[in-house]
């Protein structure tokens, strides 16, 4: 009997988890037009307001395919905050893998209850010779790094730094 109860609970938990993944939710960080296609200058089908919720369907490069107000379209990846706004925080590991376009691993990040690195520790820190020597020892040359990159299929390319934007929006909280 007890075993059945456990199984039921497991199933429920699994379903709840899967449900959350299928309908990833996002919140707009700024007011933006819902584009018909994932490219700049494409037709805007509606203007979505900052703080408005959308359903995230997929990601393509710097764009997210979303559904909002019964319309499906595209928003800039950097204009949408992923996930529900929740006070307790959500499964960050899952969110990350979703952002990468993959199903989540379901790993829950457990960080509560352990003392973090704080100001006091940093102020009273003592130099650690042994660990510093280890850090130095792990360093690799440019050539080794290049070889490593090549083996992964990475190809260096020219991308200019952006100039600092002239007009920046004032940071504001998102209405809940």
């Amino acid at each position: 009997m007890k075993r059945w109860a456990w199984l039921c609970m497991l199933c429920l938990a699994f379903q709840a988890n899967a449900g959350g993944r299928d309908h990833a939710v996002g919140t707009l960080l700024k007011t933006e037009g819902l584009s018909a296609d994932p490219r700049a200058g494409s037709q805007s089908m509606a203007t979505l307001e900052r703080g408005e919720r959308v359903e995230i369907l997929e990601r393509q490069g710097g764009w997210l395919k979303v559904k909002a107000r019964q319309i499906t379209g595209w928003l800039r990846y950097l204009s949408v905050k992923h996930g529900e706004m929740s006070k307790s925080g959500v499964d960050a590991g899952g969110i990350l893998s979703l952002a990468g376009g993959r199903a989540g691993t379901g790993e829950v990040v457990s960080v509560a209850g352990i003392r973090g690195i704080d100001e006091e520790q940093l102020k009273s820190a003592q130099f650690n010779e042994r660990e510093y020597a280890k850090l130095e020892g792990y360093g690799v040359s440019r050539e080794v790094a290049q070889q490593f990159a090549r083996s992964g299929g990475l190809r260096a390319r020219v991308v200019e730094y952006p100039t600092q934007p002239v007009a920046v929006s004032q940071p504001q909280g998102i209405p809940r």
């Binding site: 905050k81 960080v111 990475l154 929006s169």
Partner: protein
């Protein structure tokens, strides 16, 4: 009267030259010569005659330029102290992996030949630290949030940005501008370790944090360096998303939120800065399969 005039001219000359030295790392000997020219006298003694010691002027100016060698020494002190708070994770394969990714990303920066060192430190805190001269440390707590190599590249790229733009040195200079140059010069001559006295406990700077604009700049650099390295440039944004979902009151993220702008603002700023810039990038990789997973 003429004496006061000369002092005024000298003062004006110094005021004009200081920012130039800072920007272009002007040679001090030439500066000394220039000052001689301004005062119309032939030697250092003339400056002394005006009640000014040219050596003092030089020391003030030296403060604005810290050599790469000194930069590395300052960074060593900060990184070594951080390692005193949290040692490296005992996993050689992990540390080697992070160094390869980090060095590849740093190779795309304007300072590819610094002695770059990367490490994962044993702390459940969610944070990453940079120290001058090419030192980058990321906590195990932050590493655990990552899901692919592009995200790691983005995080390391942000820290590399702090090093490349000398954000920590700026803070140090602002807080003790005159002493730093003076004492580093003394230190080189004397061979003693003055750096410790100069920056106090090095790790303290990590608790104080940098200004917000330095963080936004590091975000932009991190994203661009990852892109240059061939990674999906949105890896850093993925991580900012994840950080935004860690409970705000969690002790593991307290220091990061104290020293950085909130993730939402960082995403917005990135969006404004990047615009359409990265839209045409193709064949970028996330390398999820190759990403080194923690054993525990």
């Amino acid at each position: 009267m003429r004496k006061w005039g000369a002092i005024l001219v000298l003062f004006a000359a110094v005021a004009m030259v200081v920012p130039m030295v800072y920007a272009f790392e002007l040679d001090l000997k030439r500066l000394g010569d220039a000052l001689k020219g301004v005062t119309g006298k032939k030697s250092d003694s003339s400056a002394q005659g005006l009640g000014l010691d040219l050596n003092d002027v030089k020391n003030v100016l030296t403060a604005a330029r810290i050599s790469e060698q000194d930069e590395i020494r300052i960074g060593r002190e900060i990184a070594g102290n951080l390692l005193g708070v949290a040692p490296l994770v005992e996993d050689a394969a992990l540390q080697q992996y992070v160094n390869k990714v980090g060095r590849w990303v740093a190779s795309q920066s304007e300072r590819p030949d610094l002695p770059w060192r990367f490490g994962v430190i044993d702390s459940t805190d969610i944070n990453a630290f940079a120290a001058p001269g090419g030192h980058v440390l990321i906590t195990k707590g932050l590493y655990r949030l990552l899901d692919n190599e592009a995200q790691l590249a983005g995080v390391l790229g942000h820290e590399i940005g702090h090093v490349v733009r000398k954000h920590h040195l700026d803070i140090l200079q602002k807080s003790s501008m005159i002493d730093i140059g003076k004492d580093l010069v003394k230190d080189r001559v004397g061979g003693g370790d003055v750096i410790k006295n100069l920056i106090g406990n090095g790790a303290e700077i990590c608790a104080r944090g940098l200004d917000k604009n330095a963080e936004y700049e590091a975000d932009r650099i991190g994203m661009i360096l990852a892109a240059r390295a061939g990674y999906d440039p949105y890896g850093l944004a993925d991580v900012l998303q994840a950080i935004g979902h860690v409970a705000k009151d969690s002790s593991s993220i307290r220091l990061l939120f104290k020293t950085h702008p909130l993730p939402d603002d960082r995403l917005l700023r990135l969006g404004e800065a990047m615009g359409e810039r990265l839209d045409t990038m193709t064949d970028v990789l996330q390398l999820r399969e190759r990403f080194y997973r923690l054993k525990n």
